[in-house]
């Protein structure tokens, strides 16, 4: 027993608690042995509420409330004398069973942004409460479970001079991934996901890539549509495809609507045609039409690389009018560094870049400030030729025009890089 301030506490490893005999107080009679613990999530910790005990007399495992115990000071675990009946473990409970969801399972360390498999769990006893404070993801935890911790630690320090250190993650930073089986997911979804809310989409995508298949889908379900869309945009193509196929069509469509049409086209282009058609049907008609248009083109050519979310204006529009609409453009468009000036039938007349726009008088018409020296691609221009154009002119985006000279889309540098050098993406 140690003290911190005025409170007394002791810590125990779950691996040491497992298998301890549960006895009747005042006698040496054994009721059964402890096999598992059940916890309930609280603000910053998991409170252990019940013990799972396998009765010595045989029969199914029973759940014993911690408050029913006469004493819980491991290795001393005593039941009140006389009490013989305890409820059998109820499957499908909304509480967390340590061996089913934490121990040996994957968790996300939201502080270090990594996925770990839990080797052991540290339980803290304080003021009559049992609290899951830390999970052990280190090598020594693994050795402890195997029963080799002491000899290996001794050898390491004796022969190699290495002191083995524990690797704990505080429960505050742990995001568990609920078990999807048995239809329990709906209940578990109420669990807060806020621990992940502050992570960058790129980090979330990396976590997503590290998780096993079913955890991956659960993790994805835990995010709101906006976050999910951002994460999916930066995930690897293989992971994108797996997730979109794995989750419900409704949810997939909701997420896809929030993504850029070019990205959606890349993902759907890799799916079987029937799956893609089904997803498009579920999406908002406007977003779906953009994607359908893009899907017609070869992925390796201008038409397949471009996005249709760009901003175009008539020649008479003034710089001030465009400035006033910048916020809306930034929300809806993939391309915000260039504004395209178009005439009848969307014929491309010129382009105004952001710098020019900011520096111009607000009443200047776009036709007077636009540049007419334009580099354009066709829908069937090969990606290598497009790459050369980007390199030669140092552009951030290149418009794509059809045979009539009408603008049909814009290729962003980012989409080109993904096509010509996917390993850098």
């Amino acid at each position: 027993m140690r003290t911190a301030g005025n409170t007394e506490y002791s810590t125990h490893f779950f691996s040491h608690l497992q298998g301890l005999p549960v006895r009747y107080a005042g006698t040496d009679r054994v009721f059964g042995k402890l096999t598992d613990l059940i916890g309930r999530p609280a603000e910053t910790y998991l409170e252990i509420t019940k013990l799972v005990v396998s009765p010595k007399a045989g029969g199914p495992e029973v759940a014993i409330d911690l408050r029913q115990l006469a004493e819980f000071a491991p290795p001393r675990i005593f039941l009140p004398t006389g009490e013989e009946r305890y409820p059998a473990m109820a499957p499908g409970s909304s509480e967390i069973r340590l061996t089913r969801e934490i121990l040996d399972h994957q968790i996300v360390d939201t502080a270090g942004v990594r996925v770990y498999r839990v080797n052991d769990i540290s339980i803290m006893l304080t003021e009559g409460k049992a609290i899951l404070g830390h999970v052990d993801v280190g090598f020594s935890g693994l050795l402890r479970r195997l029963g080799f911790e002491k000899p290996v630690a001794w050898f390491a320090s004796w022969a190699l001079g290495i002191k083995m250190r524990d690797r704990f993650i505080s429960w505050r930073f742990v995001q568990t991934l609920p078990d999807m089986t048995g239809g329990k997911l709906a209940l578990k979804l109420a669990m807060p996901f806020r621990r992940l809310a502050n992570l960058h989409p790129v980090d979330l995508a990396r976590i997503l890539e590290e998780l096993d298949g079913s955890e991956r889908e659960i993790f994805f379900y835990l995010m709101d549509h906006e976050t999910a869309a951002e994460v999916l945009e930066v995930a690897e193509p293989e992971v994108q495809r797996q997730i979109i196929k794995g989750i419900d069509t409704d949810r997939a469509a909701d997420v896809l609507e929030k993504m850029s049409p070019a990205e959606v086209t890349d993902i759907l282009g890799d799916l079987p045609a029937s799956d893609a058609a089904e997803l498009l049907k579920e999406m908002e008609p406007e977003a779906a039409d953009d994607v359908r248009e893009l899907l017609k083109h070869d992925k390796e050519e201008g038409g397949g690389l471009m996005t249709t979310a760009f901003a175009s204006f008539s020649p008479e529009t003034t710089a001030g009018e465009v400035m006033a609409r910048l916020k809306g453009i930034a929300e809806e468009c993939d391309v915000v560094s260039y504004f395209y000036v178009v005439g009848a039938e969307n014929k491309l007349l010129g382009v105004v870049n952001m710098r020019k726009l900011i520096l111009s008088d607000s009443d200047a018409a776009l036709k007077d400030i636009m540049s007419t020296h334009m580099v354009t691609a066709q829908t069937d221009t090969d990606k290598d030729d497009i790459a050369r154009m980007f390199a030669k002119y140092g552009l951030r985006a290149i418009p794509v025009v059809n045979e009539k000279g009408s603008i049909v889309g814009v290729i962003r540098f980012k989409d080109l890089v993904e096509a010509v050098a996917p390993e850098l993406g």
């Binding site: 061996t99 996925v115 498999r117 993801v137 479970r145 089986t181 298949g213 079913s214 495809r241 794995g246």
Partner: protein, 415 residues
């Protein structure tokens, strides 16, 4: 469909590795066509078992080692992985020895002549080049490109089919002895030798690494239940292909070596012995097949082993991670390949001992892995409505029983 096919066919073909080819050659050389019948039950058992891991991979999206760990805790998976590491190390040594042996045959043409120093250097170089190739495949390849290379390598197994036909076997006799194996047995064949050979055939065709590898690659590919029909087809096709190739190797050696009373103990002896009996080209084809198979398996086994170990012990793994992110993964992979390439410094007769031990561990481990698989595949909490049916359970239990009985019998014979 192309997105689903691959894991089953690749796993099955890696199964016909250097060790597999050696076993089939010996079976054909010592017992003629009389063991061919066993390929049918072996194929059924193989297909049923592989389909189980395939299904588990599709439903859970997890590899076998993660699933065993999550369900049964760290102890069972630790010892299983330790055993897997040893048997796979034995297999990897055999693959690199197979590469060296096949290069020898291709250079010396089965003449049995001694190496010139240039030829000796070439042979050593070939093994080191193979090790570098295998190592770089992981570092530079993507999952898709690697899978394409592997599927391409599967095509070269056709060399055994051609070699089998070139040997002009008496097909009537092949058919007759497949149906009535006892009639084809030469007098003087010891029943216990026949049984041990049978155990060898089962052991070489149904190996634990296959379950780990196939389930992991199905999970990695992220195949979903709606595409399961194709995935199942992939598994069945793989299981049949592996036995077709085995059939032709046995026929080839049965038609030539057995008829002429040539006894061989290794694959390269078989290849050399083929030259005077079935012609130079037949021998070359055999050696080429051996080279392809050894290189193929040498590429997959270190990767699969490293992946399974890291998955089970919770270490980060995967080819798209850097060394700093996944040090255990790269260390295990590299050490396995280095050990494999190290075979060029070990005389072949010393290698036999290592491989024998690895075969024994293999035989003891298979029933254990199968029992865990059986529990997992019958658990509705994991599999939902896709739990095993009675036929699958029956075949699996039968296989476990046969493997346990035969392994015990074989071990008793050995010592």
């Amino acid at each position: 469909m192309a997105a689903v096919v691959g894991p089953g066919i690749i796993t099955a073909n890696v199964d016909n590795d250097a060790g597999g080819i050696a076993t089939y050659s010996i079976a054909g050389a010592h017992f003629g066509y009389t063991l061919i019948w066993s390929l049918i039950p072996i194929a059924i058992s193989l297909v049923v078992i592989q389909e189980m891991c395939n299904r588990m991979g599709v439903i859970t999206g997890k590899g076998l080692s993660a699933l065993i760990r999550e369900r049964f805790g760290v102890k069972p998976i630790f010892y299983i992985l330790l055993a897997l590491l040893f048997t796979n190390l034995g297999n990897i040594l055999a693959e690199f020895a197979g590469i060296a042996a096949s290069v020898d045959i291709l250079m010396l043409g089965g003449s049995g002549a001694e190496h010139t120093s240039l030829q000796y250097a070439l042979r050593q170089f070939a093994v080191i080049a193979a090790a570098v190739f295998v190592w770089l495949l992981l570092l530079k390849g993507t999952y898709k490109s690697v899978e394409r290379i592997f599927l391409g390598a599967c095509v070269f197994y056709v060399s055994y089919i051609i070699a089998g036909v070139l040997a002009k076997p008496d097909w009537n006799q092949v058919a007759a002895e497949t149906i009535y194996p006892l009639r084809g047995l030469k007098p003087g064949i010891v029943p216990s030798a026949y049984l041990i050979m049978l155990v060898g055939l089962i052991g070489t065709t149904i190996a634990p690494w296959m379950q780990f590898y196939q389930q992991a690659s199905v999970a990695e590919k992220g195949i979903h239940m709606e595409d399961y029909a194709y995935s199942k087809l992939d598994t069945y096709l793989g299981g049949i292909l592996v036995n077709v190739v085995a059939f032709f190797i046995i026929v080839l050696c049965g038609a030539t070596l057995y008829q002429n009373h040539v006894r061989v103990e290794t694959a390269d002896q078989a290849a050399n012995a083929l030259a005077p009996l079935a012609g130079k080209y037949c021998s070359y084809l055999f050696a080429f097949g051996l080279l392809n198979a050894s290189l193929f398996a040498a590429s997959i086994l270190p990767l699969s082993t490293s992946y399974s170990v890291c998955e089970g012990l919770g270490w980060e793994s995967g080819v798209d991670r850097s060394f700093a992110d996944a040090p255990h993964f790269y260390t295990i992979y590299t050490v396995l390949i280095l050990c494999g390439a190290g075979t060029i410094f070990i005389p072949p007769d010393k290698l036999v001992g290592v491989m024998l031990v690895s075969q024994v561990i293999n035989g003891l481990m298979l029933p254990l892995v199968l029992i865990f698989m059986l529990r997992l595949a019958n658990d509705p909490e994991i599999m939902g409505k896709f739990v095993n049916n009675r036929f699958q359970n029956g075949i699996c239990v039968l296989t476990i029983t046969l493997v346990v009985v035969s392994s015990v019998a074989a071990i008793v014979q050995l010592f």
